[in-house]
């Protein structure tokens, strides 16, 4: 790889769009991988289909976004963890089904609101290099993901005592990873991030309320400042995830598959 896009100049307009595409592409790539870990382990067959379907949509988005930046396989397989720009939320290990659903609720709500805005901005002619087209297509997929996550949040939150307990635990545990989603991404100037965050909070709060779950009152940032993943500062499990994901590709330099 000649230039590392993670550290490429973000002062030119192309550089800005590239930085945003890389961050959003990494989100989709990493979350897709985490969801794919469920294959063969889901609680029912319908969820084998649904989780794989969401993972596949996200992988499709990742491929388009990373291709706006450079070679998709070089970017996915040959960067080390400090060069990844995904939000830490997306790399959190699956845990139980409740943790997977809550992660998905938080993320797909964000993604739908953000892609909706990027697509709208592109429609008005103020969009950015290639992101608008992807957003317009992906927003439809993401609306399904959000619906799936919401329906399951309701079932789990308002299901049995055990499912309520597990889901509340997931809601609480993942809450501190949600703040960094709203750090402005360079190149997406049309997006009002404060408004996006307010919309996200009201959407997620409404679902948690309906699901009889309590909105956490803790901070939405953890030990790391919000925005850590976007700076290439990740949580410990992420390196192990990449080791598994990249091992084969790295073992055969230059091979095509």
């Amino acid at each position: 790889m000649t230039t590392d896009p993670a550290t490429a100049s973000t002062t030119s307009p192309e550089g800005l769009a590239t930085a945003a595409a890389l961050a959003l592409g990494d989100d989709a790539l990493v979350l897709s991988h985490r969801l794919a870990e469920w294959a063969g382990h889901a609680p029912e067959l319908e969820e084998e289909v649904a989780l794989a379907n969401i993972a596949l949509d996200l992988l499709g988005q990742a491929r388009v976004l990373l291709s706006l930046v450079g070679d998709e396989d070089e970017l996915a397989y040959l960067r080390e963890e400090r060069a990844f720009r995904n939000a830490q939320l997306t790399e959190q290990p699956g845990g139980d089904f409740a943790a997977t659903i809550v992660r998905q609720l938080y993320f797909s709500t964000y993604q739908r609101l953000l892609y909706g805005r990027i697509a709208a901005a592109a429609g008005e002619g103020t969009g950015d290099g290639g992101l608008g087209g992807l957003a317009a297509k992906a927003v439809k997929e993401v609306a399904y993901h959000q619906d799936h996550a919401e329906q399951w949040t309701l079932r789990l939150g308002d299901g049995t005592e055990e499912s309520h307990r597990r889901t509340q635990a997931a809601v609480d545990a993942l809450w501190r990873f949600t703040g960094e989603l709203f750090q402005p991404l360079p190149g997406l100037d049309g997006v009002d991030w404060a408004e996006l965050e307010a919309d996200w909070l009201s959407s997620v709060t409404a679902v948690l309320d309906r699901a009889t779950l309590t909105v956490p009152d803790g901070p939405r940032t953890g030990a790391w400042r919000a925005g850590a993943g976007r700076q290439g500062l990740h949580t410990e499990s992420f390196g192990r995830m990449l080791a598994e994901m990249q091992h084969l590709h790295r073992s055969h330099p230059g091979a095509t598959w």
Binding site: P43, Y77, G159, A255, W257
Partner: protein, 320 residues
């Protein structure tokens, strides 16, 4: 169509005669039609085992999803494993038209009272195994399943039509993946050859025991559930694979494999039926692991299914 509708005024022999005539005329038997109990039981067993094979069959391939070497291959593999879950769902639905329930069939799988295809008890040790499974295992499955599209039981035949369309697509992708390896670096070529060496014989075993040892074959053929014997289908598969292996630039691990001019078919070496019987008895390389993972997924997911049921019950009451 309704070939034989149960009618309280008819004697059992009359039903049997109408059923036999419908089968003889290549008509489809449908869920509401009268059918012999043994026909129903055979179909439930066969369709359930077929469904179980789709579900267990997700495991050896899912084993490589998180390590797939390119994003394109990863997407293809994820789509394939997702399709397999979908095939399982179609097939459980087909079995349910015969009065079985999915829960009961899954319980039989988990407790070892129903089987799944012996092939999925072999491990996927390298990435090339994913391609070999696509080419050989899916290829054998298609050879078996295409005649089932004309099976006498309508819901099964229709499920097979949908399954075969998707399987053929996967098989081409598996072949193409092996081709890329075979034409790749020497290490990739060796990986592809090793995978074919390990999957060839187990794939031939997918057609079941030789005709003279196949317990259910004669009756299934009389009922037109089966259209061809195990050995006929196995021979057809070998004849299809030989030129494909040549095009791939890979060899098949059978020194006795050669064209027989007289028969117009390939002769091939003897299958190790003792290995087949051991795998069926539960002593294959992955039997224990596969069923343990399946049971664990089911047990770990119990609270999720209970939550969904509790939520549905609450909201049924709430809405009246």
């Amino acid at each position: 169509m309704t070939a034989v509708t149960a009618d309280a005024h008819k004697a059992p022999q009359a039903y049997e005669a109408v059923f036999d005539a419908a089968v003889a005329a290549d008509e489809r038997i449908e869920p509401r039609d009268w059918m012999p109990e043994a026909y129903r039981a055979t179909l439930v067993r066969q369709i359930a085992q077929h469904a179980h094979s789709e579900i267990i069959g997700m495991q050896p391939e899912a084993n490589w999803i998180t390590r797939a070497p390119s994003l394109r291959r990863k997407a293809i593999l994820m789509a394939k494993v997702q399709d397999e879950a979908g095939h399982g769902l179609y097939l459980y639905s087909a079995a349910e038209t015969l009065g079985a329930s999915r829960d009961e069939l899954l319980d039989k799988l988990h407790s070892g009272r129903q089987k799944y295809s012996s092939i999925f008890n072999y491990p996927t040790l390298t990435w090339a195994d994913v391609g070999a499974i696509g080419w050989l295992v899916d290829g054998a499955a298609i050879t078996n399943q295409v005649p089932l599209c004309r099976c006498s039981y309508g819901p099964y035949a229709r499920a097979m039509i949908r399954v075969c369309k998707e399987e053929s697509f996967h098989q081409r992708q598996g072949y193409e993946s092996l081709l890329a390896l075979s034409r790749g670096t020497p290490e990739q070529h060796a990986m592809a050859q090793d995978a074919v060496d390990r999957w060839w014989w187990p794939s031939l075993m997918m057609f079941g025991p030789p005709d003279d040892e196949s317990a259910h074959s004669a009756q299934s053929m009389a009922w037109k559930i089966k259209r061809h014997s195990n050995d006929e289908l196995r021979q057809r598969f070998v004849d299809i694979c030989v030129p494909q292996a040549k095009a791939l630039g890979l060899t098949l691990p059978d020194p006795d494999l050669k064209w027989n001019e007289e028969r117009g078919q390939h002769d091939f070496g003897a299958i190790d039926w003792s290995e087949f019987r051991e795998v069926l008895k539960g002593n294959g390389p992955c039997n224990e692991q596969r069923i343990t993972q399946r049971r664990r997924a089911h047990e770990d997911g119990a609270w999720v299914r209970q939550a969904a049921a509790a939520y549905a019950a609450k909201h049924r009451e709430a809405t009246g």
